[in-house]
Amino acid sequence: MTQATLIDAIRMAMDEEMGRDPRVFLTGEDVGRRGGVFRASQGLFDKYGAERVVDSPLAELSIIAIGIGAALADLRPICEIQFADFIHPAFNQIVNEAAKFYYRSNGEWRVPLVIRSPYGGGISGGLYHSQSVEAFFAHVPGLKIVIPSTPHDAKGLLKSAVRDPNPVLFFEPKKGYRAIKGELSEDDYTVPIGPARIAREGRDLSVFAYGMMAHYTTQAAEKVARTDGIDAEVVDLRTLLPLDKTAILDSVKKTGKALIVYEDNRTMGYGAEVAAVLADEGFEYLDGPVRRLTGLDVPAVPFSHHMQEFFMPNPDTIAEAIRELAGY
């Protein structure tokens, strides 16, 4: 057990899985000598060589398609998309291909593929280095989507992703790469894909979040506990697809109120589905409206400082939303 950052955990997971299984390889732009633009694969090129840490041409759809082909041939590719904003050229390969192979072949052809990509705002990246893209893919049965918010989960979930026989999108809150720190075990453990994690138990209301927002929400919940005596339960969804409905419904059954926090723009963001599930299956538990605190409905996160900060929820605005709902 050591203290480590989110990106350390991701690197350790890749390293361990490459060490464990010679079929695991990494490809993407600048993943080789450069070790990735965020240094997620630092050292792996030297350790495993150019055969297994492969600098791709600058072309995302083929990064994914090569991964799909290699996965069909029973390798275990980890494909890095440098920024989630650049995953869109590969949309067809992910949605029409990776997600549908197993179904379209009636269970014959599997695509054990991991797609890793940093996402989210707050790093002065402007419109094209700040996007959240999970909502698009959460609409696609056949994919799994994982977003970790702690080093422990990041490592364990990434290792599960590599071992999963299905295509897994693994989105990493880049603002947290170095900002989020926590305990990290060097053991060969996994964290299962699927179950949400109760980040903080509480009785007054439930807050659902993931990624950087799960981190912020936990901070906000601690704060309102101290300052306002509000006891918020924080549920870190961790896996977005498939959604852990039981965890959501159980929590709201207990608290009667739900707030969903995501930094993506509001309309049709992931929280829409969480809200829809609650409005249907959780209706009888609800003592108040299902609130969403979200990024703004503008095309993307602006570069300039004030606009960027205003776009995204933060611990203060989350605390405020908790107070408002608790007082409903």
Binding site: G69, A71, E97, K100, R104, N106, P112, K144, P165
Partner: protein, 348 residues
């Protein structure tokens, strides 16, 4: 573009192989004709045809290690798929969307060939997606060899990946990116473009500003070959070279087989709006099956009675396939739910 056939590999084919090739083309054609008839009779919803493309496909199939090398076909590849092991009954089951249909359990439209067993990759409908995926399969072959996971000479292992598509589909970015990987990594990869000069109604000159798709090979640093796609042995010859190149670490080849589609694009199409009847009639004279048949007859390899036998056998196989498929049940509605996710235990 290299197009020098130094020695004709086809000259070494024995009579029985030549007849097997002929049979493959004939069977595909008769099955294909039956599909059109079934559609006219209102018995099936949809057919998309490989007619006219049989030489390109059979010439290709016979140059491969069939059932072992990976192939990632497209919807016209009936003759190719049959040559690799799909049966007429399999195909009929697709046409009728039957339960336990071989490729997808009745989920996909017909002509979306797939068999894990025979290393035929499941295809989708969006064109050209198979090209970078097949480059990925070739990458995996090379990876295993480089990383010492497999012996490069083990003939029980796939040693190349083939992707097929039409000339129109090379306009897709997917094609460019797949070809580029094949070039950069010198992958054991073959891209067969079946150029029938139309993409549905869109003629070649509205599709690209080059005379030959194979001219595009230079952009990727791979070998490019143009071949008469109606001449099964010519296709076989260039494919043998391409296969050799792939097996020996020489990299990828772009093969362009020039051919024609004598029928509408699919059963939903009516080709009279975009091409003349004269053009179609002219091309039908170049029919690859008649052409091969005549040459086999001339060479005395085929004779009328043998031909008659083949025709009866083809009819019988097609009849039986149709009867079996018609007798088979439809999938239950609830089968819609199956196989969304592979279970964790089922680690491939």
């Amino acid at each position: 573009m290299t197009n020098h056939i130094v020695e004709r590999a086809s000259a070494r084919l024995n009579e029985s192989t030549l007849l097997e090739m002929f049979w493959g083309m004939l069977l595909s054609r008769r099955l294909d004709e039956r599909a059109w008839a079934l559609h006219r009779q209102g018995k099936i919803h949809f057919h998309i045809s490989g007619m006219g493309h049989e030489a390109a496909q059979v010439g290709t199939a016979f140059a491969l290690n069939r059932g072992v090398d990976y192939i990632h076909p497209y919807y016209r590849d009936l003759a190719l798929s049959l040559a690799v092991g799909i049966t007429p009954t399999d195909f009929m089951m697709s046409l009728f969307g039957r339960k336990d249909e071989y490729s997808s359990g009745g989920r996909q439209m017909p002509s979306h060939f797939s068999s894990k067993d025979k290393h035929i990759i499941s295809g989708s409908s969006p064109v050209a997606t198979q090209v970078p995926q097949a480059a990925g399969l070739a990458f995996a072959i090379q990876y295993r060899q480089k990383c010492g996971l497999v012996d490069p000479n083990d003939t029980s292992q796939p040693r190349l990946a083939l992707a097929c598509l039409g000339e129109g589909s090379t306009s897709q970015g997917e094609w460019h990116e797949g070809m580029n990987w094949a070039g950069v990594h010198k992958l054991p990869f073959i891209c067969l473009v079946q150029n029938n000069i139309y993409a549905i109604s869109v003629p070649l000159e509205s599709q690209m500003a080059v005379a030959n798709v194979a001219d595009r090979a230079t952009a990727y640093g791979v070998a490019g070959v143009v071949v008469d796609g109606n001449d099964v042995l010519a296709v076989y010859d260039v494919m043998v070279q391409a296969v050799q190149r792939a097996y020996s670490g020489g990299g990828a080849t772009l093969v362009e087989a020039k051919t024609y589609r004598p029928v509408p694009h699919s059963s939903d199409d009516d080709d009279r709006s975009y091409r003349s009847r004269e053009e179609v009639a002219e091309w039908k004279k170049k029919d690859p099956i008649m052409r091969f048949q005549n040459s086999l007859l001339e060479d005395g390899i085929l004779n009328d009675s043998l031909l008659h036998d083949y025709e009866s056998r083809a009819r019988a196989e097609v009849d039986k396939a149709q009867a079996d498929a018609e007798a088979a049940p439809l999938p239950d509605a609830e089968e819609v739910f199956g196989s969304v996710y592979a279970p964790l235990e089922e680690q491939p």
